[in-house]
């Protein structure tokens, strides 16, 4: 029984991490209809910023996390204004080619500046180790991930559902022409949303260094995971990707624990089964734009 709960805990933490990493992609793909394969590059940027601040400049870990968000968002907004916005109206093939090129450039750039070996972020002692609650092993770091990501998800849902900005965004997505006719500055809304998605990826990158490992190949290695989350979850809301992340996280951990020989395939098998059953993802709209 305790083994099941420990696995559940690990799976939830892993899923939450996947969600923070991938939800920016759900936003760009689902809401803005733009295929951004360079999403992982923003996550990597955030991770490296956090690493440099903590390891080289002696910042506390919790002070460096917001900076990881801000710097990735800043890079996002610069690239959106200078490069991405020219591609919004182009075909998906152009978008894929452009963003995959950007990914390779980011890999080469980080390799050149920081070297190719894996880096670690020095964690405060309070986040290391595990403690037992009724025999269930709770990792401190993973608990922190669950708390941070849980709060973020609630916050995001509130912003989208309750605020003026959220309604503008939903309007801009549903019908950009009508929205701009009503005086909503659609490009501005998109730019802000894009930057926010990049910032979340940056935060996810900083958080994942400890669990997934951070090296210059991060954007390529985890691109497939991000895409799985978005395809399985459907990209029309954020609850879809959130539940998909949790499902995949728990499925992956449980698969590796109970059937280690099959472990790596579980996540892909789940994806195939779900997509056969519901081609638009678990929560996708039937008439995707």
């Amino acid at each position: 029984m305790t083994a099941i709960l420990t696995n559940l805990f690990d799976g939830v933490a892993y899923g939450m991490l996947l969600f923070v990493l991938a939800c920016g992609l759900a936003v760009t793909l689902g809401l803005m209809n733009f295929v951004n394969l360079a999403h992982g590059a923003f996550a990597m940027a955030g991770g490296y910023v956090c690493m440099v601040l903590v390891n080289r400049m002696g910042w506390p870990f919790f002070a460096a996390l917001p900076l990881a968000f801000v710097s990735a968002a800043a890079i996002g907004i610069v690239l959106e204004r200078s490069l991405y916005r020219h591609l919004y109206t182009r075909s998906h093939l152009d978008q894929v080619l452009f963003t995959i090129g950007l990914t390779f450039m980011s890999v080469a750039a980080v390799d050149y500046i920081q070297g190719s070996s894996r880096v670690f972020i020095n964690l405060p002692a309070a986040l290391q180790g595990q403690f037992d609650v009724f025999g269930i092993g709770i990792g401190r770091y993973r608990l922190m991930i669950i708390v941070i990501c849980g709060l973020l998800t609630i916050g995001l849902q509130m912003v989208l559902a309750k605020t003026r900005f959220g309604s503008r965004l939903r309007a801009a997505v549903d019908d950009p022409r009508a929205a701009s006719g009503l005086g909503i500055n659609v490009p501005q809304v998109f730019a802000f949303t894009f930057a926010f998605g990049c910032g979340l990826a940056g935060l996810g990158g900083a958080l994942s260094a400890e669990i997934l490992g951070l090296d210059p190949y991060f954007p390529l290695k985890f691109m497939i995971y991000f895409l799985i989350v978005v395809t399985v979850g459907g990209s029309s809301s954020i609850t879809g990707p959130f539940l998909a992340s949790l499902l995949l996280g728990i499925g992956d951990v449980a698969g590796k624990y109970y059937v280690p020989k099959m472990g790596p395939f579980v996540i892909y098998t789940m994806m195939i089964v779900i997509l056969i059953w519901r081609p638009n993802g678990l929560f996708g709209r039937t008439a995707a734009r």
């Binding site: 420990t6 070996s117 092993g137 669990i211 992956d252």
Partner: protein, 392 residues
């Protein structure tokens, strides 16, 4: 139509032949070593270490041997076997190299093997560690190690030192399987029991579920082989999950605690026992000088890959000395067989029968020395041959 095409082709062939003749005439003046290493990609630290060590050797010993100038031509294969093959072809056909050397991973070394056989030039393997490599061509010599060497020794050592139940966690690719099989053979032959066996995928983002399984199996120790870069992640999650506090030790071949990364792994690795060919803390005067010179030149400490590169170029120099500068491949291989010398890692030699390395394997424990983490050697198994081959 057909005839019209043939003339330019013949002409082109003639031009190429003429160019090749010019190139080979020039090649007589110097000895060319084609070095194929992963300088980019996940294995880049291997490539950098070997390149650095060769530079260092040539600074120390000069770049002429037997009256000829030695020239290194470096090609990056990013540890992808297709690229290795192309690079080896270019080096052999265009650059007319006398040696091909390097090879960060086993598939790369195997990809180049048929080319070495065809061109009859020595292939000096400076990193890749699967047993079969030297059997794939009579022109291959190895100055690194085989996984059988360290895995069998740690198996023998573990049973004799109170470790009865072991769970294994190895990466699912050729070297990982080699390490696992040789360890199991020796460990179970000595009366030990393998209670849990997990092969993790090579591209594995999260060790957590595997480690939880290890923890629940309650072994005395975990036998671990993961590629050098993943060692740090593994050790961190091992500590996070509290396996160290549960009294489960980590043992394995020394790749997990590679000197290159060891110092960044944190105190969780303290007490890890591994069997390996080289530690930067090896207490010989020669090694102290080597480590000091390497640190001064490149700013970090050498790992076992650096030492393998250092010995590889040494072997090339010695072979050339013995042949008096003759670059005939068969003579060079003959000259390499049975070479014996003192390396920074200790006394080593090339087995005349298998062309593989014979070396001491040291049992080491991770300890803090002057505030830095080192593998401190405490037992030695002398002149270990590759046990992967002697079976046959």
């Amino acid at each position: 139509m057909f005839e019209r095409k043939i003339f330019p082709r013949a002409a082109a062939a003639a031009v190429i032949a003429a160019l090749a003749a010019v190139a080979s005439a020039k090649a007589e003046d110097s000895i060319k070593v084609g070095l194929i290493l992963p300088m980019t990609g996940g294995q880049a630290s291997t490539g950098k270490q070997i390149e650095n060590a060769i530079k260092l050797y040539m600074q120390q010993k000069g770049d002429t041997v037997a009256g000829k100038k030695v020239e290194i031509i470096l090609k990056d294969d990013a540890a992808i076997p297709d690229k290795t093959k192309t690079a080896a072809q270019e080096l052999i056909v265009n650059d007319k190299v006398n040696f091909i050397a390097g090879f960060g991973v086993t598939p790369a070394a195997l990809a180049a093997a048929p080319l070495a056989t065809q061109a009859k030039i020595p292939e000096v393997v400076m990193a890749a560690g699967t047993s079969i490599i030297t059997e794939r061509s009579p022109y291959i010599v190895r100055t690194s190690f085989t996984l059988a060497q360290s895995s069998t020794i740690i198996g023998d050592w573990a049973v004799k030192n109170g470790i009865k139940k072991v769970a294994t966690l190895t990466s699912d690719y050729a070297p990982g399987n080699d390490a696992l099989n040789f360890f199991k053979q020796h460990f179970t032959a000595g009366g030990g029991e393998v209670v849990e066996e997990v092969k993790v995928p090579l591209q594995n983002p999260d060790f957590a579920p595997f480690l939880q399984r290890m923890k629940d199996a309650k072994p005395d120790a975990i036998f671990v082989f993961v590629p050098a870069g993943q060692g740090g992640n593994f050790m961190k999650q091992y500590a996070e999950r509290g396996l160290d506090k549960a009294g489960i030790k980590v043992i394995g071949p020394g790749d997990v605690t590679d000197d290159d990364l060891l110092n960044n792994m944190g105190d969780a690795v303290l007490g890890t026992v591994t069997a390996h060919l080289y530690s930067a803390a090896h207490p010989s005067q020669m090694n102290k000088d080597f480590v000091a010179a390497y640190k001064k030149a490149f700013g970090n400490r050498p790992g076992f890959m650096a030492v393998s590169g250092y010995d590889g170029i040494h072997l090339i120099y010695e072979a050339l000395k013995k042949t008096g500068g003759d670059t005939n491949g068969d003579k060079l291989i003959e000259a390499m067989k049975g070479q014996k010398w003192e390396s920074p890692r200790g006394p080593i030699s090339i087995d005349p029968e298998t062309r593989d390395i014979v070396q001491n394997i040291y049992i080491r424990k991770v300890e803090k020395v002057d505030g830095e983490l080192y593998n401190v050697e405490f037992a030695t198994f002398e002149a270990v041959k590759d046990l992967g081959k002697t079976k046959k």
